[in-house]
């Protein structure tokens, strides 16, 4: 189990998190939702150790989490210029088995691996990064908006890959489209502000979606 204890994080004076606790069981897919700017990406970067640790305790099966345990797909993945798709898969893979796996994912996502990534569209860039990162054999997978810019067919392929190959791992993903999360997640964390995060199990998704919709409609009608 991945456990986050006392998550406090701030950018200077701006507090993003204040003493939040979260758990993510193995063999589960957890969706993370929240308003723009609430700190979803920040949470991912804290977990991936891109940000300096500000006192948060992150453990996996009781052991402190190291960057080697985490595969992280950022919102805007980095690519070297003049790099081919196949070369990207080569350098991200740790060993031949990961490389083969990433090539299988790439073919499922219809990616032209011999083309330069500079010529890829936004969705194709997201897909190649997803294929490379999801193929890493690390126990924790973090996907920051994996469906961004991706076409409908690939959207389904990504969902399939996450469900099939996410077993025995902790998968955390974020998205602003609720259905893409509810379709495959076992649980949703709803980040509301620095101190509040609510957890919703699979059986409560429908009620949660309805409540969200009603809340939003009320907000709009009040403002009118």
């Amino acid at each position: 189990m991945l456990e986050i204890k006392n998550l406090s994080f701030s950018f200077g004076q701006k507090v993003i998190y204040d003493q939040l606790n979260m758990t993510f069981p193995i063999s589960s897919i957890t969706g993370l939702i929240g308003k723009n700017g609430v700190g979803k990406t920040t949470l991912f970067r804290v977990l991936a150790k891109i940000y300096r640790n500000q006192g948060v305790e992150v453990t996996f099966n009781g052991q402190p989490v190291t960057p080697n345990m985490i595969s992280f797909l950022p919102t805007d993945p980095y690519f070297y210029p003049y790099m081919k798709g196949s070369e990207y898969l080569d350098i991200v893979a740790k060993d031949p088995s990961e490389l083969i796996q990433s090539r299988v994912f790439a073919s499922q996502l219809d990616l032209p691996l011999d083309d330069l990534i500079d010529n890829y569209s936004t969705g194709m860039r997201k897909k190649i990064a997803f294929a490379a990162i999801f193929a890493q054999s690390r126990p924790i997978v973090i996907l920051d908006e994996p469906y961004n810019g991706v076409d409908l067919e690939s959207n389904e392929a990504i969902k399939y890959i996450i469900q099939q190959y996410g077993k025995d791992r902790v998968v955390i993903l974020s998205s602003h489209i609720l259905s893409t999360i509810t379709d495959i997640s076992d649980r949703i964390y709803h980040l509301q502000d620095a101190k509040t995060v609510s957890s919703h199990p699979k059986e409560g998704f429908e009620a949660f979606a309805k409540a969200m919709k009603t809340q939003l409609m009320d907000k709009f009608s009040d403002s009118e």
Binding site: F11, G12, K14, R45, A48, I50, Y51, R52, P67, N68, F72, P74, P77, Y78, Y80, P81, Y82, M83, E87, D90, I91, V92, K94, L116
Partner: protein
Amino acid sequence: MQKTFALLKLRLSQGYRMLDSVGWLLVFIFLFTIIGVGLQFLQTLVNLQAYMSLVLSFLLLIFLDYARPDKSFLSSIFQSYLSLVSYLWAEYVLILLPIIFYQCWKGNYFVGFGLVLVAILVASLSPLHRRSEFTHVKQMIKWIPIHNFELRFFAEKLGVMTCVFIIIGFLSIIHIGVFVVWIVLFCLTLPEVFKWHESREMIHYKANFVWKKVQSYMLTVGKLVLLPSLIVMILFPEMWYFSIYLIFCLFTTIFLTISFKYAMFTTVFNSSAASNVVLLLLLLMFLPGGAFITLIYAIIQYIKAEKNMKLLYA
């Protein structure tokens, strides 16, 4: 180790593909000129002592390392600190290789070895620094006017490095070589500053738009380099013509990069104004008289830019 080789191979292929897109004739002319004339010219002119190449190479690598955008990516693909440092070391030795060869050719074997150690030092320090853009705390640099937003945002993004860069300019007191490296780095940074086009709404077109922008930047950059240039001219009066040539190179770079940016400007989609031809012309500028070739190209780009902006906005 396998990953290190794969990455190094990729970096070399990148270089090959980049040069391929420029045209090999231009590359060969450039290489012949720089090997035949450039190094000898610099050595004779500034009488650079061998040990100075250690200091200057260190500064160059620190600057490159600080600005490299792939740090998070590299940390994510390398499993350990040691493997990451080994890769960075190999890459930095490759970057310094021409200088190492040159020093060995001149019989300065210890300096050559020292350069390898400099590469190790910078590679070992590299993982300790993380890019400041992730911190969301931005230091405003108000002394660069907001209408020079490209330079201002770039300087704000680099944060501390901007202050270090300015301080290095004043270190020209030590040796004119520092001033040379400072101006060269400044010139090579400018294409990055003007790389991205602003959105079409940000442009308030007036007649001679490009020229006014060039003038405004020349004024800002002029203020910035005034004092270090005066220091160099006073302390190294025998090199006054060389200092003036370097400043001329800097202003030519401003003229070229801004003109090129607006010659390529389009309102249809966001595009990058980065060009390998511009980069090579900038390097060519540091050879005797090379700035005049670059200036001619810049004038052509300037005419295109004014025409382009007039067509789009007037």
